[in-house]
């Protein structure tokens, strides 16, 4: 049911995007090719639901 390529870290920045991501902000995760336009979230992945 869950796609193994989901649960991607924050998307890499567009080349045209002025904002630069601070190196300190990058989470310590393995690099997975992330889609710029879509991010998958687990419906169970929200804290505050038992």
């Amino acid at each position: 049911m869950t796609d193994p390529s989901t649960q991607a870290p924050p998307a890499p920045r567009d080349a045209d995007d002025d904002q630069r991501v601070d190196a300190a902000e990058q989470p310590d995760v393995e690099l997975v090719e992330a889609d710029l336009l879509i991010e998958d979230v687990s419906i169970d992945g929200m804290c505050g639901v038992y």
Partner: protein, 390 residues
């Protein structure tokens, strides 16, 4: 924002600022329960006479449909003890609101298991806190392990597609993680491990039941390689400070993407924070749930950028976000400081520095006052099991 502008910042940043509607939420249908689990986050047992009526429940669902809430997690107490439970379930699924309900399994029959298996819009989750009867029943009461496994068997036999075993990880069951996995595989269920919070009756057993620091690490090491396979309800985001975060949003969703509606219509930031300090309003007031979600002072407060306080200078703050609000609140720790289970030990050391701190008690307690002794089915007296106290 221009149509082609890619959302700046992370998904998490948008969610932290709150949404016009929850993505999903927890809805406790009743405080009545046939069990008396020692860690019950809602201190359930006795029905509250102010419980929402069937019509009022339908009204809540109408609102959730209009807000396009995708999913409601129905629990309690034990939701199936409400006579209108199945009616409410059907009303939700026929009004574009998906349902996952949480049960101890005591009212699951082959017949209603078949009904559930036929529905595409319902997921179910059985609560289990031990992979063996001895570990489980010490928390959930005699016979509860058997009740749960019988329900699992019925769902498996009925061809139920999406059912879960949901475990609250404690000091006593953390060594059974492999056995939980085996149990889930045996029934074709998905395993879900969640965090014990010092909420409700959980406050009374927190000291002796919450995992020790080494056990937390053991849990994290067990979960990480299992990725999406084992669910966690994002309840271990405080463990992200160990290194790679576990799957999930890794943020506190309370008042931002999720909340709780309780059996009498009170709206709380989350089910682990049933206390006046986290009560946003009541659905019975003008504007209903929608108005509470969108305009309550508490939720607007939670949606403002949080400073992080004492934790802000910690290099791990970005991943752990200062941990769980409810865990801090109910251990009497300041909300702008470390989580009691901070992986660096900052919570533990703060706790030892504040021995005289005030520890909040839940605003209401629906626990049964006179615990029932287990009764034999052959017992003729209708008063068996009840102790009379003056």
């Amino acid at each position: 924002m221009p149509a082609d502008a890619v959302s700046s910042g992370r998904l998490v940043d948008h969610f932290e600022a709150g949404l016009d509607a929850p993505i999903c939420l927890t809805w406790e249908l009743t405080y009545a329960c046939n069990l008396a689990c020692i860690h019950c986050l809602s201190s359930s047992g006795r029905r509250d006479p102010r419980e929402l009526t069937t019509a009022e429940c339908f009204g809540v669902i109408d609102e959730l449909q209009a807000m396009q809430v995708f999913y409601v997690n129905i629990g309690g107490g034990e939701p199936t003890v409400r006579r209108d439970f199945w009616e409410i379930l059907d009303y939700a699924t026929t009004h574009d609101v998906g349902v996952k309900f949480s049960t101890n399994g005591s009212r699951i029959t082959a017949e209603n298991a078949a009904r559930l298996a036929a529905s595409d819009y319902v997921d179910v989750q059985i609560s289990l806190d031990g992979a063996s009867a001895s570990v489980n029943d010490a928390i959930r009461g005699p016979g509860s392990f058997v009740t749960a496994t019988e329900a699992l068997e019925r769902w498996a036999e009925a061809g139920m597609r999406s059912f879960k075993i949901s475990v609250v990880v404690t000091r006593t069951n953390v060594d059974q993680l492999d056995e939980f996995e085996a149990l889930a595989d045996r029934f074709g269920a998905q395993l879900r491990l969640t965090r014990l919070r010092p909420s409700g009756r959980g406050a009374d057993v927190w000291e002796e039941l919450h995992p020790t620091a080494p056990q937390q690490r053991q849990l994290y090491d067990w979960l990480l390689p299992r990725g999406d396979k084992v669910l966690t309800g994002d309840s271990f985001f405080h463990l992200a400070a160990y290194g790679q975060p576990l799957p999930g949003l890794n943020l506190c969703g309370a008042g931002r993407v999720v909340c709780l509606i309780d059996p009498i219509g009170d709206v709380y930031a989350c089910p682990f924070a049933i206390h006046e300090a986290f009560r946003a309003g009541n659905i019975r007031t003008t504007g209903g749930f929608t108005a509470v979600w969108r305009t309550s002072e508490l939720f607007q407060d939670l949606r403002r950028p949080q400073t992080g306080g004492a934790c802000a200078s910690c290099s791990h703050f970005d991943s752990c976000r200062g941990g769980c609000m409810a865990a801090k609140f109910f251990t009497g720790l300041p909300l702008d400081g470390p989580d009691p289970e901070c992986v660096l030990g900052n919570g533990e050391s703060l706790l030892s520095k504040l021995p005289d701190r005030a520890v909040p008690r839940p605003s209401a307690d629906h626990s049964r006052r006179t615990p029932r002794r287990p009764i034999s089915p052959c017992e003729p007296s209708p008063l068996a099991g009840f102790e009379v106290t003056l």
